[in-house]
Symmetry: C2
Subunit: 155 residues, 2 copies
Amino acid sequence: MKKLLGIGLASGLLGLGLLTAAQAANPKPEDVVKYRQSVYTMIGWNFAPIGAMMKGEAPFDAAAVARHADYVKMLSTAAPEGFAKGTGPDVVKNTEAKPEIWTKSGEFDTKMKNFQQEAASLAEVARGGDEKAIKAQFGKTAETCKACHKEFRKD
Amino acid sequence: MKKLLGIGLASGLLGLGLLTAAQAANPKPEDVVKYRQSVYTMIGWNFAPIGAMMKGEAPFDAAAVARHADYVKMLSTAAPEGFAKGTGPDVVKNTEAKPEIWTKSGEFDTKMKNFQQEAASLAEVARGGDEKAIKAQFGKTAETCKACHKEFRKD
């Protein structure tokens, strides 16, 4: 045990290429940006195949929709951590996040919650397997993505 | 409804900067790599703060451990999708994935499953809130990370 928690852990986390413990407690702005971009990459990865099915470009697969929707729901809850103060375009290059995320944080929070709620509903509806109901809820969820990107993400 | 699923969706997914529907059905190798790197960025983001607590570099917070461990568990199930055939270093630059992932896929799958199992156990143990038990299970989980990285990831 001692080994695992002493040398093992100390060399472990560093050796793994994960954040160091010190970084974890106080992550660098660049790491926060990398994290949030990863969250949205994963959201896109899971949202797009549902969209393809909804548009008839891929055969409807209820189980796949449910799986992807569950990930989107989970990722929507992981997103807010990625918008810590001090991680805007004034500090970090290569971010599409607009300063308004922090100057209009109340509005941003509302739009984030809308996304989380619709994504949670999508996961629930997806479990039901009703294609028509899923289409309706997918549309609502996509609208919340668009609403936030329109105001808070650079084109 | 029609609008949402027709014009709304078509322009929506593209406008959102997500993958297009066609890409979703048959993602480019670069997109697969971006996805898998995102998965591991999120794993590191969630694993590191648990490590900091286990090493005593951050105060133990049972709720935070449980939350991070839940994400690691979920992300461990999302990881395999990121290792589609044809996404190795022979095809995509800027990947640390070794060719052995695909030439020794049986061994890779076993190590991936080990990680998933230990991560699932960590999430379960974390819900119990017992620091000592969490430390033990965290160590086991970190070992599965290391075992896979050692063999299948470039230094």
